[in-house]
Symmetry: C2
Subunit: 185 residues, 2 copies
DNA sequence: AAAGGAACTGACTAATCAGTCAATCGTATA
DNA sequence: TATACGATTGACTGATTAGTCAGTTCCTTT
């Protein structure tokens, strides 16, 4: 594994445990098994390291989930697929999940940052379609997207806190219905 | 205004703008117009200052919202009152809102911290009642509470980002229905 | 093999910060 | 008036940190 990747993985683990400011750059380098200097070779400042990590996570979430949505699916099926993929991804990648959570409430985060990403674009298109077709409530699509994201986050936090996994299909559906009902007409 | 209160108000403003670690204790004292030492007289460590502020906000939210729920109200009316009070409180107290948001995603936050508070207790009782009576979905009450809290947060963020206020009753109801539908059977 | 540049090292620094402390002030009580 | 004690000050310190830099290693190209 190259040192840049090692740094990102180590940083993600330490950030999710101790927060951005609770983690010294020197510690990231040490625990990644590389020199202090090389961190600043790849990421000129700590801020740029953090921002690079944000896009790294969003890219991987996109790759993980979008492939699963197939063309012929109904709107509800598509939303369900995206919802389930997001929940699974966050459950399986605990450090990514904690990292994003902290990033989005930090002063680093600006909405423009997120808007740029194709994952968000895709979701918004789907939601707009649902509103036009009259399947969704007459509410701004951005609010619906944010609401769904918040539901995913809440669900993941709950499952983790109670050491649960999504093995019960019936329960999984009940969780999804909670999110779905909030946007369906 | 006594110096302890001045410190809390100034800290809240600075924390909400620059985060916990982005705000030096010396700066809090300076902008509050008091000496550096007095901060540590009232709050022996920075962590204790932050925790004291958390309970300060929750207390005020409790006082603000609970008085508005009247005895004879239906379950939906009570939930609506609490939802609206929370949204209004967070809109009117921007610094409190940002502070709590950061606190809850920081390493300071432990779930036990919140459970102790009577505001949470009250909400959980109401939700349990709704589940027993069959009005709410068969989902753990803690998850429903967290989901509602997340919806309030999302709504407030959306309104603030678009410089909106809750002056349109019809739109307000549509926002509430979003949250309500996610928990109602 | 020579050259050149990217990857890499780790000791170093300038700045910042949480928390301390010795001294002073204000005021209430005896 | 004397005593006592909490409130208050602000200069100070020891520890920590992001970022630098001069020099070394490694690899590719000619």
């Amino acid at each position: 594994m190259d040192k840049r990747t090692k740094l990102i993985l180590t940083a993600k683990r330490l950030f999710s445990e101790h927060g951005f400011y609770g983690t010294a750059t020197a510690r990231i380098a040490r625990e990644a098994g590389v020199s202090n200097g090389i961190l600043f070779h790849y990421f000129p400042t700590k801020d740029l390291l953090i921002k690079a990590m944000f896009f790294d996570v969003k890219d991987r979430l996109f790759d993980y989930s979008v492939g699963q949505v197939y063309k012929g699916a109904t709107l509800k099926e598509s939303i369900y697929t995206l919802w389930l993929a997001a929940v699974e991804f966050n459950l399986e990648n605990a450090n990514d999940f904690e990292f994003i959570r902290q990033f989005e409430t930090s002063p680093f985060y600006r909405t423009e940052t997120e808007l740029e990403h194709r994952y968000v674009q895709l979701c918004l298109e789907l939601i707009d379609k649902g509103i036009e077709e009259g399947q969704f409530k007459q509410i701004p699509s951005m609010l619906i997207f944010k609401s769904m994201s918040a539901q995913v986050e809440t669900t993941v936090r709950f499952l983790k806190m109670n050491n649960m996994v999504l093995d019960d299909v019936e329960f999984t559906h009940r969780l999804f219905e909670m999110a779905w009902d909030s946007l369906a007409k």
